[in-house]
């Protein structure tokens, strides 16, 4: 393979609200039985990238657990593998990465010791399928020094949380504004980059010497005039889930047949850690409509336009509408849940009423004692 992969999975975002208390965005459960990072990891393995480093920082425990074995994505071979880079205590007794470029700098050996000529950098919080080889070919064709994968802003999403890009006719990036105050383009950066490995090492070293630490603003944006930076446009489904609203909407997209077929049934597959759960069970009284139900769940009540992640228990006479119930939630009899995201491992008491607003989804974190047989 001509490239190694780096997945930036350290990020957290205040806009995830209570959901970020527990884990990095890349570890968020997605689409019923996946986690966000599965999409980037599966793209890597499906593009035959054999060596992938995952840079973690913020609350990495969920992520570490998820990545405890690399076999699910078919890494862990004699050549290549999945490498986890969690910040460690350094000689000056500081800990943590000061930014994405610093994260790369502190693990520069990984880049230096590889022999593949290119690096694919991807973020762990986006939902998409992409054969990175196509980007790489484009990169080589254009004789680009950096290629940024761009896409049209998804409908209803906020442009100001992205890097906005303008290109010339050739596809060369002329303007690149990171999280601007005013949106002047609807072409956004997806946070996926292709760059020659030696150039990346050079740029990262220079960047750190200057006391700058961010890969995007201090390297890609800063060098856009100096280096040949090109845009590769992704035209298929792409969503970033780093705000509570987009997280909710992206999950709900999977209730649409075309999105479901694209990710669940079309080649190539998205892989995830296997949990060995029994099939979902529907008891008398179950009434399910336009919903996704993951394995290990037991359903007694009524569910509409919702996504139930793994091992959800829904009691008798419950009503769940337009909601997302994350992994291993127990919902007591007679509970009513509408427009909510229920955080994983929660226990909802009998008869509870949890109601959000279609424009302001209620994030429910319930830590009640659970008594089950």
């Amino acid at each position: 393979m001509r490239a190694i992969g780096i997945i930036l999975a350290g990020g957290n975002n205040k806009k995830m609200k209570e959901l970020s208390a527990k884990r990095a965005v890349a570890a968020m459960p997605m689409a019923g039985s996946y986690r966000a990072i599965d999409f980037a990891l599966s793209n890597m393995t499906n593009s035959h990238v054999r060596k992938v480093g995952v840079l973690t920082q913020y609350n990495a425990q969920s992520l570490n657990e998820h990545l405890s074995s690399s076999k699910w994505w078919d890494f862990g071979r004699k050549q290549g593998g999945l490498y986890l880079f969690t910040p460690t205590l350094k000689t000056d007794m500081t800990i943590g990465y000061r930014g994405t470029a610093d994260a790369l700098y502190q693990n520069l050996d990984f880049l230096k010791k590889s022999h593949e000529p290119y690096v694919i950098v991807a973020s762990g919080d986006s939902i998409y399928k992409l054969d990175y080889n196509k980007v790489l070919e484009y990169h080589i064709d254009k004789k680009a020094e950096i290629t940024v994968v761009t896409t049209k802003l998804p409908e209803g999403d906020d442009p100001l949380r992205y890097g906005l890009v303008k290109t010339d006719e050739e596809g060369r990036i002329t303007e690149f504004q990171e999280k601007p105050l005013v949106a002047e383009s609807d072409m956004i950066s997806t946070g996926i980059y292709v760059i020659r490995r030696r150039l990346l090492i050079e740029l990262v070293e220079a960047c750190i010497q200057d006391g700058r630490y961010d890969l995007v603003s201090d390297i890609i944006v800063r060098y856009r005039g100096l280096k040949r930076v090109y845009a590769y446009e992704l035209t298929t489904y792409w969503r970033n889930i780093a705000t509570a609203e987009s997280y909710y909407n992206t999950n709900m997209d999977f209730l649409k047949k075309d999105v479901r077929d694209y990710f669940y049934r079309e080649y190539p597959e998205v892989y995830s850690k296997v949990d060995d759960l029994p099939p979902a069970k529907y008891n008398p009284g179950a009434k399910v409509s336009n919903s996704l139900i993951a394995s290990g769940s037991i359903i007694n009540g009524e569910i509409e336009n919702s996504i139930l992640f793994k091992k959800t228990y829904v009691g008798d006479n419950c009503v769940i509408k337009n909601s997302i119930i994350l992994n291993d939630v127990y919902i007591g009899d007679g509970a009513y849940i509408e427009n909510c995201i229920v955080e994983s491992r929660g226990t909802i008491k009998e008869g509870a009423r949890l109601i959000g607003n279609p424009d302001d989804i209620n994030i429910v974190v319930e830590k009640n004692e659970r008594y089950i047989m």
Partner: protein, 422 residues
């Protein structure tokens, strides 16, 4: 190399009483409870009991079994020392033969067992549904200073003549063993699970090596009695089901649907493992209805399903109503079908407006001993054309066309078996 106890799992049988379900796969590889295969139960029992060395003896149609087991990753049986090993019959410099009986199969793999220098050998069969801690059985074997321990469970006396029956004293020592007796004198049935002290088993296998079709129940156990060895009955009181017939197979699946099933797959303790090749959640469409069912990963339901077991990746079309049926992995069912009491095996496809399970009872013309229980049984990769009607006690295998159905109907008791599925 030393392992205290290794397991030998007999998985070579065809299971001919499962009819078209085992036309292309050995019985242990037949799917069960939506996402599992029958062999997952003994394999999971092994790893959960701390038995990490398992020889799986295969013979009849082993392809599905081989791909399912692989190197044992799903059961954590990919080990540096031990783990799972698939043992097919092999050619020898003289006297090459197939496995001619259960004990003969074990005899032909003496070298495999010797490799691990075991104190005890656990003999299992690949066609039972149960959860059992073999370690407790081994403790029992040791405590009684036994040579052979046979797991046994009480069965209704009227059914006892279908089993090997043990007659044991108060200390559980077995005084007599009768294979399928006409007039059973006890209701303690052998479950086909044995622990042998290895020197005893080895001696018996070598002594009986010339016995034609050498079998545990018919030859090895009687031989052990002759040698005055200490045989004990280990009484098991949990759920155990032989799914050897279409009726018992269907029934065992249906029992899983109960609100709190006797055989509970949802317990954290004693998990059953399988090769998961599907991950996505299942989708239940608007207007669909699913009640008293279990559904596998990635299934999509647009119609109505009641009292059924549905495997991974199945698609059930709009307006279709399914009751009391088993639909296995990746089956596609069209729109506006009506399906009652059917077993539809993997990858089959059913066209629109098909009605299955109609008409009055009629005895099967193909094999009344196999196709009974009013079930319509459809083999894997079969194709059912749109608009046909299919009766009870029927069997279908292969790609069928409209002209195979006289007036569009397959009457109860009838069958269509097409040769050559390629």
């Amino acid at each position: 190399m030393k392992k205290e106890m290794i397991a030998m799992l007999l998985a070579g049988g065809q299971g001919s009483r499962l009819g078209v379900l085992t036309k292309k796969v050995a019985k242990p590889a037949v799917s069960f409870a939506g996402k599992y295969r029958i062999i997952d139960f003994p394999l999971s029992n092994c790893i959960n009991s701390g038995v990490d060395t398992v020889g799986v003896l295969t013979q009849y149609q082993p392809l599905r079994l081989n791909t399912h087991i692989g190197i044992g990753i799903p059961w954590d049986l990919d080990r540096n020392v031990g783990g799972v090993t698939v043992l097919p019959p092999y050619e020898k410099s003289s006297n090459s033969e197939w496995y001619t009986g259960t004990a003969n199969a074990i005899y032909q793999n003496i070298e495999y067992m010797e490799m691990y220098n075991p104190d005890y050998v656990l003999i299992l069969s690949g066609d039972h549904i149960y959860k059992m801690d073999y370690e407790l059985m081994l403790d029992f074997h040791k405590a009684n200073n036994a040579d052979v321990t046979i797991a046994a469970m009480p069965v209704p006396i009227e059914e006892a003549s279908r089993f090997g029956i043990l007659i044991a004293d108060e200390e559980s020592r077995i005084s007599e063993f009768e294979e399928k007796p006409a007039n059973p004198r006890s209701n303690l049935a052998s479950m086909g699970i044995y622990i042998f002290s290895w020197p005893v088993l080895k001696a018996a296998l070598l002594e009986l090596s010339d016995e034609p079709n050498c079998d545990f129940g018919k030859h090895i156990i009687p031989y052990c009695f002759e040698q005055n060895q200490r045989l004990f009955a280990y009484e098991f009181s949990g759920y155990w089901k032989d799914v050897g017939t279409l009726g018992s197979y269907w029934e065992a699946n249906m029992e899983l649907i109960d609100i709190i099933p006797i055989f509970n797959l949802y317990e954290e303790f004693w998990r059953i493992y399988t090769k998961n090749d599907k991950l996505p959640p299942q989708y239940i469409a608007k207007g669909a209805k699913v009640e008293r069912c279990i559904l596998g990963e990635g299934a999509e339901v647009y119609g109505q399903v009641f009292n059924s077991v549905v495997g991974p990746g199945v698609i059930i079309g709009e307006g279709t109503v399914i009751r009391d049926s088993i639909i296995m992995k990746d089956v596609v069912i069209g729109n506006n079908c009506e399906i009652n009491k059917a077993i539809i095996a993997e990858n089959a496809s059913v066209g629109d407006n098909v009605i299955i399970g109609i008409g009055e009872y009629a005895e099967s013309k193909l094999n009344p001993k196999v196709y009974a229980f009013d079930l319509a049984t459809i083999g894997e990769n079969s194709v059912i054309p749109a608009g046909v009607k299919i009766g009870k006690n029927t069997a279908i295998s292969g790609t069928t066309l409209l002209e195979d159905y006289p007036n569009g109907v397959l009457e109860s008791g009838d069958y269509i078996i097409k040769a050559g599925d390629f």
